[in-house]
């Protein structure tokens, strides 16, 4: 009897399965053509939209066919440029791979004949983060200065890549004489100087990392670098100036044209800046001396030195006389993954070769889940004996962990450099 009931069970189930399978097959027969039609319509709609957008625009430049172009294009991000005489706009297709994922972000930008943005659309965004609706909207109506376009907090890599691409678009049109560049105001000019004159306060895409502070007197506002390497201050007056004040390098001032005007400035102003910076500075020296002291052979005493003109991520420079000879020790704090500050320590011998290398946390916990490859011990050993000449960037590379690699690269280059002063 048991055998019969097992058979019956199986039979019943098989029948039900067959019934269901047929049902699904039937529904599939019904829906498959509908789905195919949906897809066909979607593809057609996309093609129509493309035609409507371009209309009978004149193709001015196409990266795929440079010979047919009438424009000279130097920027890599510009893919194609059209001129629409009816709507009186230039339409540009841009593609940038400088975003977070390093995959291409596709943009469509339209600028009118006077040089103002009509629309900026993100067509493809492989970076996982949401840019929000305000960011693309903020481009509308902007001229070539892009002065009102602010980067999106938490998505700085993606938004700065997009901003740079739009900037490239503008420059392309301006360089080809299609319209004139708009003038930037002083505040914007000074802000744009920062990555060039003080690399230690910006991350790789050039975004300032730090908190905003208010100044006093003629010093209106400033930024305190998140890694403790120094400050930038904005001085307003007859001439608006940018002051860079670093822990090791002293004070330097620049005007809106980017010229170093430190020598021609009133000494009182320099003192004011120095005082303001000291009042707001954190003291990293005890921590750095402790860490570097451990790396010296016989725990010799470290004496701080000033390195004039140093405005990088290096936050501490010291000299020590050990039994092995003179040692130069540096602490650098570049920005790594997610813009978090990393601690690197280098001890260099008299010839400028790295005698000891230490880093607080090479792969920050947050980058742990990307697929990086790192043999901790041999990586660190690879730094020993390197000099400014023999270091070529490869020694700092961690495959799969670009931001940490970049940070290590920055720190190494900047610590090998001071001895060449």
């Amino acid at each position: 009897m048991k055998e019969q009931s097992v058979l019956r069970t199986v039979l019943c189930l098989v029948l039900l399965l067959a019934l269901m399978a047929v049902g699904v097959l039937g529904v599939n027969a019904l829906t498959a053509p509908v789905i195919a039609e949906n897809e066909r319509l979607a593809a057609e709609a996309a093609a129509e939209a493309e035609k409507a957008l371009l209309g009978d625009s004149e193709l001015l430049y196409d990266r795929a066919d440079p010979a047919a172009s009438t424009l000279t294009v130097t920027a890599d991000t510009v893919q194609s440029v059209y001129r629409d005489s009816t709507k009186e706009v230039y339409l540009l297709r841009l593609s940038t791979s400088e975003g977070y994922s390093k995959l291409p972000i596709e943009l469509t930008l339209t600028i009118d004949f006077e040089g103002k943005v009509v629309s900026m659309e993100v067509n493809e965004n492989p970076d996982d983060k949401d840019l929000g609706e305000e960011f693309p909207q903020s481009f509308v109506g902007q001229d070539s200065t892009l002065s009102d376009v602010a980067l999106v907090a938490g998505v700085t890599f993606s938004s700065s890549a997009i901003r740079n691409a739009v900037n490239d678009g503008f420059n392309t049109l301006i360089d080809n004489g299609l319209f004139a560049a708009a003038e930037k105001d002083d505040s914007q000019l000074l802000n744009e100087l920062i990555p060039a004159v003080y690399p230690g306060i910006v991350n790789k895409p050039g975004v300032v990392q730090g908190e905003e502070l208010s100044g006093s007197g003629s010093i209106s506002t400033g930024y305190k670098a998140a890694n403790g390497s120094g400050f930038v201050w904005f001085v307003s007056g007859e001439e608006n100036l940018l002051a860079v004040s670093t822990t090791l390098g002293g004070v330097k001032l620049y005007n809106t044209a980017g010229e170093d005007v430190t020598a021609s400035v009133d000494a009182g102003l320099i003192d004011e800046i120095r005082a303001l910076s000291e009042a707001n500075a954190d003291d990293l020296s005890s921590k750095q001396i402790k860490a570097l002291g451990k790396m010296l052979e016989d725990g010799a005493e470290l004496n701080a030195v000033e390195v004039p003109g140093l405005c990088s991520s290096v936050t501490g420079a010291y000299v020590a006389e050990t039994s092995e000879g003179t040692r130069y020790a540096f602490a650098a704090r570049p920005y790594g993954y997610s813009n978090e500050v990393m601690d690197f320590y280098y001890v260099l011998d008299e010839e400028g070769a790295i005698a000891a290398f230490r880093v607080s946390e090479l792969i920050l916990h947050s980058e742990y889940f990307s697929s990086y490859e790192l043999d901790d011990a041999s990586y660190k050993e690879g730094f020993l004996g390197l000099t400014a000449e023999s270091y070529n960037g490869e020694q700092a590379l961690i495959s799969g962990a670009t931001m940490s690699s970049d940070a290590a690269d920055t720190a190494t280059r900047e610590c090998l450099r001071p001895l060449r002063f």
Binding site: V6, T9, C12, L13, L16, V27, V34, N38
Partner: protein, 209 residues
């Protein structure tokens, strides 16, 4: 039977069907699509199993229910893809998962124990209960999580939106609060374990297996 009553309580119903409910509650359009799919699968399974129950031997009951529900879930997924592509884009995958949904399974089990009419009615009620709950949940999550309703932005709430609500943990939080409210109105007795047993159509036991 006490266990059956236990099963038909709205709180327990939704607890069992938590997965599709949560997945569809990020957006009101998705909620509508999912509710429609769930209702169809519930009714169709109840119908087929209610009609066939006399011919299904006892040992085959559980697998039979599973096969039938899975079959209708497949059909629902295909229909969604064809006729509600918007909803499909948001939750197409979860329509497939309806195939093993405990709530639907429980209703299917139920349909095999009772007459056709009662089975269908209970399926209908479960479906409606699910739909109402999920729509409310979706409305809350979308309004306060993304400041929009069915995809249309709601300007007034824009500055107050809490993005956490659109994520998994936020959804669970709102779900639990909503469930607590429903619990107050229709208190569900019994333990979580007993419920699971009832839903699976198993005999109640005094001790854990």
């Amino acid at each position: 039977m006490k266990e059956k009553l236990l099963y038909l309580n709205p709180v327990t119903l939704l607890f069992l069907g938590a997965a599709p409910a949560l997945a569809a509650s990020a957006d009101v359009r998705a909620a509508l699509g999912m509710s429609a799919a769930v209702l169809c699968v519930l009714l169709c399974s109840a119908l087929v199993l209610g009609l066939a129950r006399k011919w299904i031997p006892a040992e085959a009951k559980l697998p039979a229910a599973l096969l039938v529900v899975a079959g209708f879930a497949s059909m629902a997924q295909l229909l969604l893809q064809a006729f509600l592509p918007g909803a499909f884009a948001m939750l197409g995958f979860y329509a497939a998962v309806l195939g093993v949904d405990l709530m639907i399974f429980g209703s299917a089990e139920n349909a095999m124990e009772q007459d056709l009419g009662k089975g269908l009615l209970s399926a209908l009620l479960s479906g409606l209960c699910f739909a109402i709950f999920v729509l409310v949940l979706a409305a809350l999550r979308e309004l306060f999580g993304a400041a929009s309703f069915a995809g249309n932005a709601v300007e007034a709430l824009k500055d107050y939106k809490i993005p956490l609500l659109t994520q998994a943990s936020g959804g669970l939080i709102v779900f639990s609060i909503l469930l607590a409210v429903v619990n107050r109105l229709f208190p569900a007795q019994g333990s979580v374990g007993a419920l699971a047993r009832a839903a699976a159509g198993l005999e109640p036991e005094d001790k854990e297996a």
